[in-house]
């Protein structure tokens, strides 16, 4: 592991990135170096997740660079896909990765699963459908939307458990919603986790501390899938598979072993491997991939195989273009591209000869080249990679029975559960906000929230518990705490407002909220209660300000959105003042505000 830095420096960035054993620090350096080099294609992806996946960005950039794409990554806010959509669109993001996460339903959801009634699960399902339908509806302008499925973190129970059943239902909902949009691709996260193994996929240390459950290995595999389903962020669209014949379609050399001697029978080894390979190629053809032959052989003999050999799966009608001759393969590939009127970068080339593969790689770098491995069983893994290239993110042709089925089902469900607007969706949540003044039993939680809130924190004053206690005892100060709940459960104490009274003026000293509850209008719904209280104390004017930090840019225009007039701005500090009688906060009729 202790590889000397100097030796690493000698390697080219792309070689480091292609090395599966490269360490995190090496990848970070190689990504920066690789992006500094000129790169033709560029794309911008936005990540909106319900878990902390900051490091996913690095791996997305790694695999993008390997595919010749310089990828810019923007991170969204925690579990706020609708808010992220607007921010990403403004920032010029063209691809979207949406990663819902089980824990955002409610804490310890996995443990709670066994206790949920059927009605609870129905309600969850409807909520999930409504929320993500709104998100996908709002995301039609993005080139690719990668929607990631839900997965469990808890160890599976032999034979399955209720959590498995619930997850299967919820994932089915996400798949159905994804199928209704041409630009949406689905990633099966549960399958990704299973492929890697649960122990390899998660790092529970950071899951419990930072809501960051994923290991670098899982993030790497995830990024690889994102690249595949987005077809290298639009930079790649493979249309044709160009196949060699000898030791690719059959075992052996046709010119030497003759038609009777080549290995192709499904009942023999290694014939069965080639029979399977041909069947896979035919399946690709049926899904819209153009199959071509490019072989140094006698054309008459190859035609005879296609027409008459009893064990052949592929037949003449399945092959759209043939270059069977003795000229070089580079020229033949050029000809195939010209005949089909597609770009060289739409071709995938499969050949057993290292010499031919290298010739094509060096002279036609646009072509994706695969070599048939020497050991027949390894061949199936290579074919799986080729299939991935064509099929990841959906088949090439439109004859996708399964997708159509999903689409119809999604439409049937649309009438039952559609929310016309974001507001309808919010109304369906049955949101309540309970405002409590000077809640002494909650002092510890209030202090903790003041320490932890970074993004939605207007002045970023950090309070200790004794300080909060002192403020609550001070008659010139009110400490408002807010508890947010919806029909699925309580999010707990997730926001605090500290206001100070002096003469006829009430000043907002602090305002901070957990990102979990933003985007639902809670931050606007609280003011009528707080102002009524200030009014009762004889206050006539309101003052508030925003103090910038490295992390709270998200809240910079909050008071503007609330409708307060800006009175001064200096070095990023924004000050606001208004007469209470002139002020009406934006309405949020979907929230019921309770107070004591």
């Amino acid at each position: 592991m202790n590889r000397p830095v100097a030796a690493e420096m000698a390697r080219r960035p792309l070689d480091v990135l292609a090395d599966p054993a490269a360490s995190l620090a090496e990848i970070m350096r190689a990504v920066s170096a690789g992006e500094a080099d000129a790169s033709p294609a560029a794309a911008h992806i936005g990540i909106s997740a319900g878990a902390t996946v900051e490091l996913l960005g690095l791996y997305l950039r790694r695999h993008a660079l390997l595919a010749g794409v310089k990828l810019q990554v923007s991170q969204g806010n925690f579990d706020d896909p609708l808010g992220d959509l607007a921010r990403f669109a403004e920032a010029g993001v063209d691809h979207l990765l949406l990663a819902p996460f089980l824990d955002t339903f409610e804490p310890a959801f996995e443990a709670r699963a066994a206790m949920l009634s059927d009605a609870d699960v129905d309600a969850r399902e409807a909520e999930l459908r409504g929320r993500w339908r709104l998100v996908l509806q709002g995301a039609t302008s993005f080139r690719t939307v990668i929607l990631c499925g839900l997965h469990r973190i808890a160890a599976p129970v032999a034979g399955g458990d209720r959590l498995d059943d619930i997850l299967a239902r919820l994932n089915q909902v996400l798949r159905e919603e994804a199928a209704a949009y041409a630009n949406v691709r689905f990633i099966d996260m549960a399958g990704l986790v299973a492929g890697l193994g649960r122990r390899e996929a998660f790092d529970l240390r950071f899951y419990l501390r930072n809501a960051a459950p994923y290991s670098p290995a899982l993030l790497d595999a995830w990024a690889r899938q994102a690249l595949a389903v987005s077809r290298a962020y639009g930079a790649r669209f493979h249309k044709a598979l160009v196949l060699d014949c000898d030791n690719t379609l059959w075992g052996g050399i046709l010119g030497e072993d003759l038609a009777g001697g080549v290995k192709l029978s499904a009942q023999s080894y290694p014939g069965a491997v080639f029979h399977r390979a041909q069947t896979e190629f035919l399946a690709l053809q049926r899904q819209g991939v153009l199959l071509c032959l490019c072989s140094k052989n006698d054309p008459g003999e190859v035609d005879a195989m296609l027409d008459h050999h009893p064990d052949m799966v592929l037949r003449q009608a399945d092959i759209i273009a043939k270059e069977v001759n003795w000229s070089d393969k580079v020229a033949n590939l050029r000809r195939i591209a010209r005949v089909l009127n597609i770009g060289l970068d739409s071709l995938v080339f499969l050949d057993d000869s290292a010499f031919e593969c290298e010739a094509v790689r060096s002279q036609l770098p646009e072509v994706a080249v695969f070599q048939v491995p020497a050991s027949p069983p390894d061949y199936l893994a290579v074919i799986a990679s080729i299939k991935d290239l064509f099929l990841a993110g959906g088949a090439v042709s439109d004859g996708r029975a399964k997708t159509e089925q999903y689409r119809q089902r999604a439409q049937a469900l649309a009438e039952q559960q559609a929310f016309a607007t974001h507001e309808d969706y919010l109304t369906s949540l049955g949101l309540t906000v309970t405002l409590t003044r000077d809640a002494v039993p909650r002092i510890a939680r209030i202090a903790e929230l003041s320490q932890k809130s970074n993004q939605f924190n207007l002045t970023t004053v950090r309070y200790s518990a004794p300080q909060i206690e002192g403020l609550m005892a001070d008659p010139a100060v009110a400490v408002w705490s807010l508890d947010v709940a919806d029909r699925f459960g309580a999010a707990g104490l997730t926001g605090v407002v500290v206001v100070r009274f002096a003469g006829d003026t009430v000043t907002v000293e602090s305002l901070f909220m957990s990102c979990r509850v933003l985007g639902r209008g809670v931050e606007f719904a609280i003011w009528p209660v707080i102002f009524a209280d200030a009014d009762a104390r004889g206050c006539r004017r309101l003052q508030a300000s925003y103090l910038p930090t490295a992390k709270n840019a998200q809240a910079a225009d909050y008071y503007d959105r609330l409708g307060l007039p800006l009175t001064a701005e200096a070095q990023g500090v924004r000050s606001y003042e208004i007469a209470l009688t002139d002020f009406t906060p934006p309405p949020s009729p979907w929230i019921e505000v309770l107070h004591d």
């Binding site: 592991m1 202790n2 830095v5 360490s23 995190l24 620090a25 970070m28 350096r29 902390t52 900051e54 490091l55 790092d203 240390r205 950071f206 501390r209 930072n210 960051a212 670098p216 490295a550």
Partner: protein, 78 residues
Amino acid sequence: MIDEAMLRQVIASVLGVPVEAVGPDASSDTLAGWDSLKHMNLVLALEQTFGVEIPDEDAADITSYALIKMVLQHLVAD
């Protein structure tokens, strides 16, 4: 003994600062950008580079060059 040049290099790569900025007194208080997210990445990167597994009880606390060096030396010696 651990390779301190390598250690500096890893910290610099993860935090996105020049290697020269990572002195013996570097810590999350002195280096901008050493926040809880970057710290998580740093722990993962250190584990991979030095081939060790940093125990949960240390992972969150080693927020200075000196502490990281101490914990790594201890782990490498084991």
